[in-house]
């Protein structure tokens, strides 16, 4: 199952809620304000590095670029809307 996260991890608990239910290996796509969870050097960067090991962690390039975020934690995969569609082809999706 593909988990979609679109809120800032500094303001919303939706990513943490999702992680409580997502099984190991389930892909997670960060988009809109959700992309800040993949930013390097933040107070949650260590936590997110662990998440990137347990899950396939994706981040939407268009939303990264719009927010000027270029330094990411290790293990994150940048995709565009084409890649978003491919993830949805392969998985049912949950929008948190």
């Amino acid at each position: 199952m593909l988990h979609l996260i679109n809120e800032s991890p500094f303001e919303s608990n939706s990513l943490e809620d999702c992680l409580r239910y997502a099984s190991k290996g389930s892909p997670i796509l960060l988009y809109e304000d959700g992309i800040y969870a993949a930013m390097a050097g933040t107070r949650i960067a260590d936590r997110m590095a662990g998440v990137a090991q347990d899950h396939k962690l994706y981040v939407l390039r268009e939303d990264l670029a719009m927010r000027g975020v270029d330094k990411l934690i290790a293990g994150v995969n940048e995709i565009d809307y084409d890649g978003f569609v491919e993830l949805v082809e392969e998985n049912k999706t949950a929008s948190w």
Partner: protein, 119 residues
Amino acid sequence: MKFGILITEGPYQHEASDSAYHFAKAALAKGHEILRVFFYQDGVLNSTRLMEPQSDDRHIQKQWSALATENNIDFIVCVAAAKRRGITDEVIAEGFKIGGLGMLTELAIEADRVVEFRA
């Protein structure tokens, strides 16, 4: 595959409508069929033809209307949500139709995937 899209947030206030639009375009470009886009809760506000953003900004309703008519996609605006928010036949734009909530259930039954874009 047969896709459905559900939008529950209004345009401009939140990025959800933009994301849904870009996703829909990418899905069509990859040859998928979009059975229906269902506009629900504040999402119904995408459908008003009275929308008039600043000239240098994107026009979200016109983007949607073009997508619907060019690709012959079913765009349904939830009637109860619409009435609550002042979206009526009087203001609804080309390409959108007002319909019942049952059409969301039908979409869930028929589509291979339904993707929600929400706040």
